[in-house]
């Protein structure tokens, strides 16, 4: 039981530290508090598993997950390349690019945008992951089918957000462009696309999480012998639970990094927007 007491003590200590940080405030607290919270959770996990002697096939402790990560780095890397780089990122990039192009085209015709927006909004709320078996049937077991699922999943959220964004530049600003006799393309690239960027990035960020989910789900319908979804489902069957959690950790890290990169780009591109000023 001593492991549990130590873990609880660590948690209490961390919570006390967080209370102090919250009272103190400031930038350091913003970074330190969540880190301490996370470490406390890990300590609790380790403590509970050790204290109650939970078998490894049910819940391995974080320490043995860390060992599994170290021992399987090559394997995890090849799964990462297959699922995230080939499947998710390719599909995400293609889907977002296609959605942006379609949005600009649709925007030229008010009739089309009035017809497409309600449909797009509706489709964006549908369980599109369901196309996964169809895409696997069309494109085979390789990464192409995963990219296709991701493409279908990210297309509508990005389309809807971009079309909404293109409408944000207000009348005054558009009239100003006209008094400067700007052409359609000049006013698109000079005014309306930059003004649409906060909306576009909102769609892009939603799309990153969808992309990772889509790529992994598509692997449940058939995959080559690597990939994160494949590895997780086979390793669960083989009771190699530390490896499963190692893959989960890798997937979590990849998803967070993907999201982080996009929000970093957002901060660089839309630095002028109210939500990023004065921080």
């Amino acid at each position: 039981m001593s492991a549990l007491w130590i873990a609880l003590a660590v948690c209490l200590l961390g919570w006390g530290l967080n209370l102090w940080l919250a009272a103190r405030g400031g930038r350091a607290a913003r970074v330190a508090a969540p880190v301490i919270f996370g470490l406390g959770l890990l300590a609790l996990w380790e403590g509970v598993v050790r204290a109650f002697a939970v078998p490894e096939v049910i819940l391995p402790p974080p320490s043995s997950v860390a060992v599994a990560i170290g021992a399987n780095l090559g394997l995890i890397w090849s799964d990462f390349v297959q699922t995230i780089l080939k499947g998710a990122v390719t599909g995400w990039a293609l889907g977002c690019a296609a959605a942006a192009v379609v949005a600009v085209l649709v925007d030229r015709s008010p009739f089309l945008s009035r017809g497409l927006l309600p449909i797009g909004n509706f489709v964006a709320a549908l369980p599109i992951v369901g196309v996964a078996p169809i895409m696997v049937m069309w494109f085979g077991f390789g990464w192409q089918s995963k990219a296709a699922v991701v493409f279908a999943m990210v297309f509508f959220p990005v389309l809807v957000n971009t079309v909404a964004g293109l409408a944000t530049a207000d009348r005054m600003q558009r009239d100003l462009m006209r008094t400067w006799s700007a052409s359609y393309w000049q006013s698109l690239f000079g005014l309306r696309l930059p003004a649409a960027m906060p909306f576009v990035f909102n769609g892009l960020k939603i799309a990153t999480t969808l992309a990772v989910i889509g790529a992994i789900v598509a692997e449940y319908f058939g995959s080559p012998t690597r990939g994160m979804g494949f590895r997780i489902s086979t390793a669960v069957g083989a009771l190699q639970l530390p490896l499963v959690w190692a893959e989960i950790a890798a997937a979590a890290l990849a998803g967070t990094l993907f999201y982080g990169i996009v929000s970093f780009a957002e901060r660089r591109v839309t630095f002028w927007h109210a939500s990023h000023r004065g921080r």
Binding site: P34, G115, L126, P127, G130, P133
Partner: protein, 294 residues
Amino acid sequence: MKTAGPVLSVLLVILGIWYAATVFMNAPQVRDAARRGNVELTLGQTIAATMSEKRPMLAAPHQVAAELWKGIVSEKITSKRSLVYHALITLQATMTGFGLGVVIGVLLAVGIVYFRVIDLSVMPWAIISQTIPIVALAPMIVVLSNSLGLGDRLGVENRLVSKTLIAAYLSFFPVLVSMVKGLRSPDPMQLDLLRTYSASGAQEFLKLRLPSSLPFFFASLKVSIAAALVGAIVGELPTGAVEGLGARMLVASQFGQPLLMWASLFAATLLAGVLIVALGVVQRLADRMMGARA
């Protein structure tokens, strides 16, 4: 109804593209079959054949509609071939997960608004939790809930527990974010006014913060229930479920029944549509009770 015309014409265009794609994608299959049977097909016959393939690459819209009709209307609801039966199973997991997610989201939001320490330490993890692909965790959740026997203790099926957890995980976040925004939306003037009335903390919460957060709450529910449905369907895939729309898709994919695949996909779509419309009705009722004018 200014949007009805454009929406209808866009839908018609989509239908047209779909039919064209059906011909285009199924034609190689039809031509192969004709070559094997040493039959010469005219163009018209080829097109007709692409519309009625048994295992089409792309099912024609009317085939999907027929399969849907068969699955929804012709079979008894208790039959395992009935899509309604499977949809109800998925709906059950969706609703329990959605309920759990909403409760967790609201409680966390209240905690975050009232306690700075929770705001600082939990909010970043709530955001990170959404970038973690839950589907990767799904098989683990199944193993955990099975081995702990959570379902038996609660008196429900184990499968339902794991699906519920996954659906709740996906659906709590939209509620959390909007409720934090909503509970913080009363401006300082209004809060000061309540203080001059010497309102207690509970009164401030019940009479000002909660009512002013309701529009945010309902807006988030629509996102949240769509996410819960995705969670329930995804949760059926790696959990070895035999019942539910997700399981139906998996079975259809493994046994090569494309028509069933399409029908399940559209059944899920219909279910999502029904849920979103139902929430819209609830929202309108709540608005009216709050005294909003239509």
